[in-house]
């Protein structure tokens, strides 16, 4: 039954298990935490390595000798301009203040997505499962399409782009400098188990924008009574401070950390409970209310507190979420760190609901249809857009300036080696 017990598979199983447990790339020959392989925590999760046999070559590092001889930071800009002998990286990036985007998140940040076509018999065909191997080896997450670090074109067709793509558009020197350090089930309490997978050297690398977005698992329990296992504000405060101390010792000077609040998740039940689940659409026999009850009964629900018919429990969950958001606000306004500025941004789901309704669409279209819980790709991109505009308005330094050499970079280096 356990295929990994077969001797010839034991080693590779061990390596895969370690990669998933520690959230580091499975295929990383030079162990610099950047990979040429897409899944198993590869370049779907963090900038693709452009030389996997040299651990001093990776996305996000300050250029080595202005990359006159090799592309040491994998942004596709290197070599010397024959006209004047100036290295291109020096000519196009010096002074433009390049920066990377790093997300510390949970399944929402990793963009957990179970395609509805996998369970919709009426639409099923040979094409339905083509992406199943990729999804399984990414733990059913799609970070390559996420709101923070997505680099692939959106499948939903809306115009909004990920935070990474907007940082890249603003300054092409930021090409490939993204890291999605997220995990299904992550919370303030277990982030310490995988935060070491964050790859940033305070001396060698560019500054980074780190988004701390533990948006649910601190209040989302599985048990019949989830309240006792909710994180208390005191515990939350303590763990967030530990994380900020870790970041202060790893981030280059000039970085920024943005604490992202928790949502008031009562909208979930309001928008979905009486809608049909994909399994119930053929025979009109399974609503999300039944689906939520089934998952809660088995204690495998992603969030009993908000996926419940119990209005009191939903309100209690939102109340604790607000307390934790207030804790983040308190930290952001009272704590100072040497290597980064600290900010707080509200998770304002209603703002994107209003924007979506303005487009004549329905709120329930903003959720993953199969799990009836996670924000879907559209929601994640709308949230990224709201986030970007808020940060741009309140703290313009965080996102950096437009690089006037973008056109020249594009002219000389095209797509800079892509992703």
């Amino acid at each position: 039954s356990d295929i990994c017990s077969l001797p010839f598979l034991a080693k590779i199983c061990q390596e895969i298990k370690s990669a998933i447990e520690h959230s580091v790339p499975f295929k990383d020959v030079d162990s610099d935490k950047h990979s040429v392989f897409p899944t198993l925590r590869g370049y779907h999760w963090r900038g693709r390595d452009c030389n996997d046999s040299d651990d001093m070559v990776y996305p996000g590092r300050r250029p080595d000798n202005w990359d006159a001889h090799q592309d040491s930071n994998c942004n596709g800009i290197w070599g010397v301009d024959p006209k004047d002998g100036i290295p291109y990286e020096k000519k196009f990036c010096e002074g433009s203040q390049p920066r990377g985007i790093i997300l510390l998140g949970d399944s929402a940040g990793a963009h957990f997505h179970f395609p509805p076509e996998w369970i919709t018999a009426s639409q099923m065909s040979l094409k339905s499962f083509f992406n199943l191997p990729t999804a399984l080896t990414n733990e059913l997450n799609w970070p390559q399409l996420s709101g923070a670090t997505g680099f692939l074109n959106s499948t939903s067709g809306i115009k909004e782009k990920s935070i990474y793509l907007r940082l890249r558009k603003r300054n092409l020197c930021n090409h490939r400098d993204y890291q999605n350090i997220s995990k299904n089930g992550a919370s303030s309490q277990n982030l310490e188990r995988f935060i070491e997978s964050l790859s940033r050297n305070a001396l060698l690398d560019q500054p980074a924008i780190v988004i701390y977005a533990m948006i649910g698992n601190d209040v989302c329990g599985r048990k019949t009574d989830p309240v006792p296992e909710m994180t208390t504000p005191e515990k939350f405060y303590s763990k967030v401070m530990e994380t900020l101390e870790f970041l202060n010792s790893h981030l280059p000077d000039g970085s920024h950390v943005i604490l992202y609040g928790l949502p008031n998740g009562t909208f979930l039940w309001d928008y979905l409970h009486d809608k049909y689940h994909p399994l119930g659409q053929l025979n009109k026999d399974v609503t999300y209310d039944q689906f939520y009850s089934f998952l809660s009964c088995l204690q495998v629900t992603p969030c009993h507190g908000w996926m419940s018919s119990n209005q009191t429990l939903r309100a209690l969950t939102s109340e604790r979420a607000k307390q934790l958001s207030d804790t983040l606000k308190k930290i952001a306004t009272s704590k100072k760190f040497k290597n980064f500025n600290l900010f707080y941004v509200d998770f304002d789901f209603q703002e994107i609901v209003k924007e979506w309704q303005k487009r004549g669409r329905q709120p329930w279209e903003l959720f993953e249809p199969v799990d009836g819980f996670h924000p879907n790709e559209v929601a994640l991109l709308l949230l990224a857009d709201v986030f970007w505009n808020k940060v741009q308005r309140q703290w313009p330094d965080v996102l950096g300036k437009e690089n006037p050499f973008n056109p020249q970079i594009e002219q000389v280096f095209g797509d800079q080696g892509g992703h």
Binding site: I119, M124, L132, P133, T137, L279, L282, F294, C297
Partner: protein
């Protein structure tokens, strides 16, 4: 608890098989073969599907033919189990007769007929 995730997985898969048969107006056996044919070879997905169908397919065919729900099928196959003292977890509306009687009927149905041989499986 991974058993609980397996229970969810079983109910989802059996529901899909049941709905494939309904949508294509085919037998349950053909629906299972169709589902396996849709899966990629990578990660042994297609062969794992055929293996599972070979092992539990005959029971699924008999029970769905008797209009049992995916909940009943998965409890019968022991992918779902009611923990003593815990509520019975089900996705679909419960059958009219008592649950114990339903499971006993399921056992009788499976015990009776000979195990089917799948032609295209060979």
């Amino acid at each position: 608890n991974s058993n609980d995730h397996i229970c969810v997985g079983c109910v989802v898969v059996v529901s899909v098989i049941e709905q494939l048969a309904q949508v294509h107006n085919s037998t349950t056996q053909a629906a299972m073969e169709t589902l396996c044919s849709y899966l990629p070879e990578k990660l042994f997905l297609k062969s794992a599907c055929h293996l599972v169908v070979r092992i539990v397919g005959p029971d699924i065919i008999k029970l769905l033919s008797a209009d049992m729900t995916a909940d009943v099928v998965c409890h019968h196959l022991k992918f779902c189990e009611q923990v003593p003292g815990q509520p019975l977890c089900h996705l679909y509306p419960l059958p009219k007769e008592a649950w114990k009687l339903t499971l006993e009927n399921a056992r009788q149905i499976v015990k009776g007929s000979p195990t089917l041989k799948y032609s295209r499986m060979s």
